[in-house]
């Protein structure tokens, strides 16, 4: 699905990430942890070709990212659902229009029934007509998750998806991600929330990646 070979990334100063080699196998469930500013968001951006590696190779669905045309990048992103840390909504569109935006830009018809079900599932059915600035942080994150999965992607990348959620809602969201993983989706969740990781490990065989000293390592069983 997604593989990194000796990847390094720097924003222009020193290297933020170095010598990263890993593979997200189809159907796997990974957490990514690390201190704030360690480069979790940066790593995710490398995974959906918003950033290109400074060196090394990133391969998405068997294509090296550097070889992708702009159109090919767009097509690849349709197969990767991303929950962005800052949600990335269009503030002039309603919540339901934002959630179905990936379908809209792909020219696919949206089934109003499915959209309503999806919004109900993340508990936002009554807010379908609201504009994003009118939503709470937690509501925005749930909407972002709904948008990430509406295309039925093969891979789901979530950047701090529970950052603004209470424990109950976090568990609901985790259950949702676990369910998606059981349906065969590859899932990667960047999070600080160790309780969430423990909770997940009781439900599923999740692996934990930790960013430390610019490297990404598989964390031990100590969690």
């Amino acid at each position: 699905m997604i593989s990194f070979e000796n990847v390094a990334y720097s924003y222009g100063g020193g290297e933020l990430l170095s010598d990263i080699t890993l593979r997200l196998a189809p159907g796997s469930f990974h957490f990514l942890t690390g201190p704030s500013g360690a480069g979790k968001t940066t790593f995710l951006k490398l995974c959906y070709a918003e950033l290109l590696p400074s060196s090394g190779r990133v391969t998405l669905f068997d294509s090296e990212v550097r070889s992708l045309t702009r159109d090919a990048v767009a097509m690849t992103r349709r197969r990767i659902g991303v929950v962005h840390q800052d949600c990335q909504f269009l503030d002039h569109l309603t919540l339901s229009a934002n959630v179905s935006l990936p379908l809209t830009v792909a020219g696919r018809p949206e089934a109003p029934r499915d959209l309503a079900d999806l919004l109900a599932w993340v508990g936002l059915d009554r807010l379908a007509g609201s504009l994003p600035p009118q939503l709470s942080g937690g509501e925005r994150q749930r909407a972002a998750l709904a948008r990430a999965i509406i295309m039925g992607p093969d891979v789901i990348l979530a950047d701090e998806p529970t950052g603004n959620l209470d424990w109950e809602m976090s568990l609901r969201l985790l259950t949702l991600l676990v369910e998606l993983n059981r349906m065969g989706k590859t899932v990667l969740v960047a999070t600080h929330d160790l309780n969430l990781i423990r909770q997940a490990k009781s439900q599923i065989a999740a692996r934990v990646l930790r960013i430390a000293k610019r490297r990404i390592q598989l964390a031990g069983a100590d969690l």
Binding site: D71, A74, Q88, L93, T94, A97, L101, T104, L115
Partner: protein, 293 residues
């Protein structure tokens, strides 16, 4: 609820952009208004150029009046002279029949041409290089005192040239107006694209292709240009229509306008303006999209 889940169209994913909207319409309108006048100028000077060029093609004539006993001798002298004048391709006396036909509109078909003391007419056909009419006049006066050179080409030629230039100028103006419009619309489109950088970023993140994003802008700018140009063309046509007509006063200035089906020609301008806007916005969008990542 139904409206809530109504599909989002490609257009509405980009928020409406206030000032670039009316800037585009206004530019297209003003430019089309000017283009209508430039077109009227081109058409009018084209008509003039054709009329005057047509007159040029007609031959000059030498008119010969002399006492009957000298006429044959002078005619021969004129023909000999013309035959040796550089720039003259042919010279030929008109036959009595041809002369009768020339006079028919004035005196009717039964005119006894032979009985009238009509001057002889000798038709001159120039070759491409033209001839020295002043020199010819002097030599005619010396050799055949009864001969007069009727040469209207001399004063018409500069007019025909001027009219031709004016026509060229009219078309050039239309071209410049088109380019200016393209430049203005490119600026407006760039401003709109820059103002929507965040929106474009989000669209790219959710998998929109450049062509999809460009379409939203291109459609919008094309429609605005079309609408503005439509209004400009109507106003321009109205402006040309209220000019006094050529029949009333005559002359070039009042002849500035369209004739017959020519009035339909300015209607081509709005679609052309739409096409210009389409091409300009499309080029700007694809360029800008690459910049914006």
């Amino acid at each position: 609820m139904k409206r809530l889940f109504a599909p989002t169209t490609a257009d509405s994913v980009v928020p409406p952009s206030g000032h670039t909207a009316w800037l585009t319409s206004f530019t297209a309108g003003a430019m089309t208004f000017l283009a209508v006048f430039a077109l009227a100028l081109a058409m009018a000077s084209g008509r003039l150029a054709e009329r005057w060029a047509g007159a040029l093609e007609r031959t000059a004539t030498v008119r010969l009046s002399a006492p009957p006993e000298q006429i044959a001798q002078q005619e021969q002298a004129v023909l000999d002279l013309l035959a040796t004048t550089p720039g003259i391709a042919a010279a030929r006396p008109l036959t009595t029949d041809e002369q009768r036909r020339l006079l028919e509109p004035w005196f009717g078909p039964d005119l006894p041409v032979d009985a009238l003391p009509l001057p002889r007419l000798i038709e001159i056909t120039e070759d491409g290089s033209g001839y020295d009419s002043e020199g010819l006049r002097l030599r005619l006066a010396a050799e055949a005192p009864g001969a007069v050179l009727d040469d209207h080409t001399r004063w018409r030629r500069p007019l025909a040239v001027a009219a031709d230039r004016l026509r060229l100028l009219g078309w050039l103006s239309i071209g410049l107006i088109g380019l200016t419009m393209a430049a203005m619309i490119t600026l407006a489109a760039n401003a709109a694209l820059a103002a929507n950088a965040q929106v474009i970023g989000v669209l790219r993140l959710v998998g929109a292709r450049d062509s999809y994003i460009a379409r939203a802008f291109v459609r919008r700018f094309t429609l605005r240009a079309l609408a503005g140009a439509g209004a400009g063309a109507v106003l321009g046509l109205a402006g040309v229509a209220v000019l006094p007509s050529a029949d009333q006063a005559g002359g070039f200035l009042t002849g500035l306008g369209f004739q017959g089906a020519g009035w339909l020609l300015p209607l081509v301008l709005p679609p052309v303006a739409g096409l210009v806007a389409f091409a300009a916005t499309r080029a700007a969008a694809f360029r800008k999209l690459k910049e914006l990542n």
